[in-house]
């Protein structure tokens, strides 16, 4: 193999930038991430965590929490069921809309599954491997936001 061949191979090799490969010559910016908070009844925490996990979510934390009683009287009478769970998930910005639509539908249709969810932007993460883990980036795999029905942004 001569020097010219080596140069040609280098030129043909897909360029890497920040752990992401440029296959078609276009620069791919990293997907933005968000922190999703979902507050639901504690009994439904696993259900919602599993639902969210279907959207390329690799890191979720379920924290046991308490809702604040609506009135002091209800609390004194023990009529308030305040056991809640806070699910903290790292989600991709491009899948956020699909996740919110799914959650909105489930909040209305699942019995006892009423809840609230909100997201806050995540501004930094250190380490390429960590970022790839959080964004579920896998080399050579098609983008789930484009390929799956649930990942389609409307």
């Amino acid at each position: 193999m001569n020097e010219q061949d080596t140069k040609k191979r280098r030129a043909d090799r897909p360029e890497k930038k920040g752990g992401r490969t440029k296959r078609d010559g276009t620069l791919k910016a990293p997907k933005k991430l968000k922190l999703l908070f979902t507050v639901v009844d504690r009994k439904k925490a696993e259900l919602y965590a599993d639902l969210i996990a279907q959207y390329s979510v690799n890191l979720q934390i379920i924290l046991p929490g308490e809702g604040t009683a609506k009135t002091e009287t209800l609390r004194l009478l023990g009529l308030d069921d305040t056991a809640r769970a806070v699910i903290v998930s790292v989600i991709r910005d491009d899948l956020a809309q699909a996740i919110f639509e799914m959650l909105e539908e489930k909040f209305e249709t699942v019995r006892g599954g009423k809840g609230i969810a909100w997201s806050t932007p995540l501004t930094s993460a250190v380490g390429v491997a960590i970022y790839q883990f959080l964004s579920d980036y896998r080399e050579g795999r098609e983008d789930p936001a484009k390929t799956t029905e649930r990942g389609k942004s409307k």
Binding site: L63, G67, T68, V86, F100, W118
Partner: protein
């Protein structure tokens, strides 16, 4: 960039979450979620500032319309701030999307907003 809602996070000593909610409700908050936690602080800093940190904490998450954030934060500062037994700190995070808020609560907030504009 501004959004319609913000998430107020208030970290207080255990037992003060009711005081947090009382102060927040006074300025239009509807409900919150309490998470139990354990605080950590530099012992050297504790000695320097002459304060002691109770390790058991409660973290209260309150989702509020943006226009209510400042009055609620100020109310929390006064009711459960660092100079009170609650020894609380409060801050807000931007919220770019939200689902699950009842239309009723949205309507009430609109009313409060109008009231605030014409005191």
């Amino acid at each position: 960039m501004t959004f319609s809602h913000e998430c107020i996070v208030c970290i207080v000593n255990t037992g003060f979450s009711d005081a947090v909610m009382d102060a927040a409700r006074e300025f239009g908050a509807r409900g919150g979620t309490v998470i139990h936690g354990r605080g950590t602080a530099s012992q050297e800093a504790e000695r320097f500032f002459g304060i002691s940190i109770q390790p058991d904490k409660e973290l209260v998450l309150i989702l509020v319309p943006r226009e209510l954030t400042d009055p609620i934060l100020y109310a929390l500062y006064r009711a459960v701030g660092l100079k009170t037994p609650g020894q609380g700190i409060a801050f807000s995070l931007p919220v770019d999307q939200v689902v699950g808020l009842s239309p009723l609560s949205l309507g009430e907030n609109e009313e409060k907003k109008t009231d605030g504009a014409n005191p």
